[in-house]
Subunit: 424 residues, 2 copies
Amino acid sequence: MARALIIGCGAVATVAIKKCCTCSEVFSEICIASRHRENCEKLAQELRPNTKTVITTAAVDADKAENVSALIREYKPDLVMNIALPYQDLAIMDACLECGVNYMDTANYEPENIDDPEWRKVYDKRCKEKGFSAYFDYSWQWAYKEKFEKAGLTALLGSGFDPGVSQAYCAYALKHQFDTIEEIDILDCNGGDHGYKFATNFNPEINLREVSAPGSYWDTDENGKGHWVEIPAMSIKREYNFAQVGKKDMYLLHHEEIESLAQNIPGIKRIRFFMTFGQSYLDHMRCLEDVGMLSTQPIKFQGQDIVPIQFLKALLPDPASLGPRTVGKTNIGCIFKGKKDGKDKTYYLYNVCDHQECYKELGSQAIAYTTGVPAMCGAMMVLTGKWNKPGVHTVEEFDPDPFMEALTKYGLPWNEDFNPVLVD
Amino acid sequence: MARALIIGCGAVATVAIKKCCTCSEVFSEICIASRHRENCEKLAQELRPNTKTVITTAAVDADKAENVSALIREYKPDLVMNIALPYQDLAIMDACLECGVNYMDTANYEPENIDDPEWRKVYDKRCKEKGFSAYFDYSWQWAYKEKFEKAGLTALLGSGFDPGVSQAYCAYALKHQFDTIEEIDILDCNGGDHGYKFATNFNPEINLREVSAPGSYWDTDENGKGHWVEIPAMSIKREYNFAQVGKKDMYLLHHEEIESLAQNIPGIKRIRFFMTFGQSYLDHMRCLEDVGMLSTQPIKFQGQDIVPIQFLKALLPDPASLGPRTVGKTNIGCIFKGKKDGKDKTYYLYNVCDHQECYKELGSQAIAYTTGVPAMCGAMMVLTGKWNKPGVHTVEEFDPDPFMEALTKYGLPWNEDFNPVLVD
């Protein structure tokens, strides 16, 4: 019996909200809040007839902590679930601290304006000190640790699939399968096919950033000192034969959970993250970039300022239209290499999720499904007291067992392989 | 001592006009006419200080025969050189007939509006009867044969490089090197590099039409009956090692001179046309087409109708800017297979043209240069009486010797190879 304030009403939030409504014994009351209340209300109206969860809605501009605080004071939730944009993480954390409420999110903070000179100063320093150049990192939210501890409040960071479930898999492997883990490869494969020659699941701008940013991984030198290794974008490519999906090309990317895992897995030597991209997708991105269609700089055309990537977005299929036509599966998981009882051991924990089944169940394809379900399960862990630990924590810092049990119950069961093919 | 009315003031016309001005003994007076007289006047002002040719200018809308007739009556030329759009061929031929003046052009008629039902009816019938589906063919202009014959006027069709020089090469080969020619492969290679990842020499719409139209070639069945063979766009690909350029991929396309050569080369069994396209160029065209950027259908964006391909044009480098930066060479010619004195023989006639040298000489790269020079040389043949033959004729119907001599003199000398590598 608890009350959650859910900020966000996009594709991922919609999955999480729908799942909350199937578990009214925990989520007895929820408030759906976003910039556009009408979207929240539309969803609420769809859900109310079939759930015992009492659903209310609100408008909130989560860019400003005081707006969020006002809503919290009015609604008095036990937990704020931030399933909005990562730009708003800090404002919502501030509001939670001010009002004494637990917090959770699905992706770590990054600034909306990366040209802000104040932010830039800190960023440049971190790039130099840490050795990776992604625009997001944990430092901004880890800076809240002491405040949350003192307030006796829990902040759960990154409870999606990756970050999120990927880290629970690490905690699970360490708890049940290994004495020490030396190497982790996180493999994120989307084997879905929407039948279009080119379309993007998200904003093409975000897709572009993903493939044009340098990759990086965690490695350890001969003296046992861990450090980041940064590589040019898309320069490490491997082929992997994914269970229930087949062979796919995958590329080494930077990913946020590497940063926390490097701190929280004792004795870890290497952590890498790979994501699949089809050659055709990459070719289209490159050609569009070559002709300037991915530019965010407006050009004058027919007397108007037109931003090429926005015009492209208008030409491409609406991402929301991909759901009903996407077939195939995702396969996301972690391959571990380590020691058990003095012997070398390898182990692969992964989830396979079918786009069409997700769509039939919740009207969303697997990309949103695999992020929304862990968001709801993480919230459930906090609300039921299973993951209550004052401070600011990532998923691997908690007991993975009840979380993974919930994941299985709510649609994301895991598979294991005790003799996996390793990534070289 | 003759007077030519030149309709057109684009890149090709500019080359032809500049070359006319180097040969004032033939082109003693020229009138440059186009829709925008100011462009003609600008060019005239640039040329007048350095030529004995008397240059005047005029505005003309060549879509309408009566406008052209009025200008002809006023200027009283000995020849009308149509170096404008192929849409206007028939209107200008009508005007020449009405006023009793010789005519020439560089490309055969095609309609501006291919949805016009009257034109479509004739087109559909021709597609069925002849077996190729290009929007242009000689039938429209050949229909004027009797009228030009009766009027004692010469109409010279297609005096560019290909069509044009390619056909003169055929006539030359037949006159000097073969008793019979059985196979002709016309090879058009542009080995130029403008240094951009993607740019088009012309309107991208015309480029697109070129690579998306079915290819076709002339072939002969076992009974010796010639016929067209149509193939899917870009489905026949060969690699060829071009002299002074190197290895390039080339694709079989439909091309207009195949139609007249099939009639005018006795005993011919096969005629094919190949053009080089780089893989990167084709990849970009395909990717842009996939996302809808090559569409000519407007979409609503920011409250305006925007035609994607026109927006793309605005993003791409201005074709006029390519001239100074394009390096490399073109190599265009014909490979012949036939009999001489009862023996099998092969022979390759080709021209190599350097982009930078063309640019230094006339401020145009080789693409415009190789079309503009033969236009001027063809006009010279008609004006000097060397190619005077009442009726409507293509280049191979005339004596190639004086034309090829002029080509050499004015910048397009030929090379020959008596043991060429054949295209399989």
